[in-house]
């Protein structure tokens, strides 16, 4: 690569560019419905009200809408997260007691930029500095449960109320799981080497990033995440569109409605192997809900998809003994099932 290419890797992303992009974003968003209608009923000339027409109009509307929402929200969330670091979170959590510490940890878990591969150094850094095990777990649980892709898609397909409900219940589960693990005194099930690691004194004097740098990082993550999930989004919406157009209303009320008590645990079980595929799963679930599936069952299923993930447990296995992983999974699963029943009951 020539040196000039490295010097200017991309154009600098400043406020003017971000603001014009935001304006273009809103304009595109307004044009989605007319575009989908024109494409389906105008260009393809499908009769209004036909099964195929209904399905295609749904697909052409939802795909660009969700991609737009995902990009916009991931960008905003990454900019927000650029104001937080794991080191800062550790400093804030130091000396906090159980309870208040768990709540703060869950909140910080959501806003701290964090990839699952950092889970191990972060875990060691937290427990070594004396942060209680339970508080550390609240932090580590909140991150995957309140996942930005899931949140953006819930917001886009279900609206802000369901997205908010999901956020609040995810945080609550993280707090409760952490408190229980703290109470059970499971420190002996942390791998022994963790207690022996000599954690060095961080000597990073990183200057505060400028807005341009924050925007640039945010743009990079947006490209990375959307690039990774867009195919699942399209596939999920295609399946959802098929259900939307072809399955009669209320066909699923029997099997997945409020009165089917077994549907919540079944949904949680089904969610386990679908880890990290929130992007593909949420559009399907949205279509199922239109046909009579209950909201609590749906939310429980989605939380299980993101929170009970096998790769995450494999990473944590490096610092936790199997017993502690077992307890953690059991508490999470129970809390998610409980949340599902609760929402089926009150909504």
């Amino acid at each position: 690569m020539p040196e000039s290419a490295l010097k200017r890797p991309s154009l600098s992303i400043g406020w003017p560019l971000v603001l014009s992009a935001a304006a273009a974003w809103f304009l595109l968003y307004r044009l989605l419905q007319p575009f989908a209608d024109w494409l389906t009923y105008g260009l393809l000339n499908l009769p209004v009200g036909s099964h195929l027409g209904e399905s295609l109009a749904f697909f052409f509307y939802d795909v660009p809408k969700i991609i737009l929402l995902l990009s916009g929200m991931i960008f905003l969330i990454t900019v927000l997260r650029s104001f937080f670091t794991a080191e800062q979170a550790r400093a804030w959590l130091g000396g906090k007691r159980e309870g208040a510490g768990n709540i703060l940890a869950a909140l910080l878990g959501v806003v701290t930029p964090f990839c699952s591969c950092s889970a191990v150094p972060l875990f060691i850094g937290f427990v070594e500095s004396g942060i209680p095990l339970g508080v550390t777990f609240s932090f580590l649980t909140a991150t995957p449960v309140v996942n930005e892709v899931a949140l953006a898609m819930l917001f886009g397909l279900f609206g802000w109320k369901v997205a908010g409900l999901y956020l609040v219940s995810g945080l609550t589960i993280a707090v409760i799981a952490g408190v229980i693990i703290g109470r059970l005194r499971l420190e002996r099930y942390v791998e022994d080497f963790v207690w022996q690691v000599k954690v060095g004194q961080a000597t990073v004097e990183q200057e505060k990033p400028s807005w341009e740098e924050r925007f640039e990082t945010a743009w990079e993550s947006t490209k990375e995440i959307v690039g990774k999930v867009w195919l699942y989004v399209v596939a999920g919406i295609a399946i959802g569109a098929g259900i939307h157009g072809y399955v009669p209303a209320d066909a699923l009320a029997q099997a997945l409605g409020k009165n089917a008590w077994w549907s919540v645990p079944a949904g949680v079980l089904l969610g386990v192997p679908l880890y990290s595929n929130a992007a593909g799963v949420i559009p399907v679930v949205h279509a199922l809900m239109e046909k009579g599936a209950a909201l609590g069952t749906t939310l429980a299923f989605m939380m299980s998809v993101v929170a009970l993930s096998l790769p995450e447990m494999v990473i944590l296995r490096r610092v936790l003994k199997p017993q502690l992983i077992g307890v953690f999974v059991a508490i999470l699963a129970a809390a998610i099932v409980f949340t599902g029943y609760l929402f089926n009951m009150i909504l």
């Binding site: 490295l6 950092s118 690691v197």
Partner: protein, 80 residues
């Protein structure tokens, strides 16, 4: 001769940082070796909690991937 280390656990961002640093060393003709450290206790010894982290001559100069331009500037400041 300087030693540049990328501390990482194998995530995509860590590999991107390693790749960018290797390219920079060639392009800028720095007299430096690039090393990829994945051993957890070794990473923790630097006192960082999030990966990737960039270490020049045993001093942590960045956590995360601040972008190729910024990385070039940070390394340049550290070795001159």
């Amino acid at each position: 001769m300087h030693t540049i280390k990328v501390l990482g656990t194998g995530c995509p961002t860590c590999q991107r940082l390693l790749h960018d640093v290797q390219q920079l060393v060639v392009a800028k003709q720095w007299h430096a070796t690039v090393e990829y450290v994945t051993d957890i206790p070794a990473i923790m010894a630097y006192g960082v909690m999030s990966t990737p982290a960039l270490v020049v001559d045993e001093k942590v100069i960045a956590v995360g991937h601040p972008g190729p331009a910024k990385v070039a500037e940070l390394i340049n400041n550290a070795i001159t």
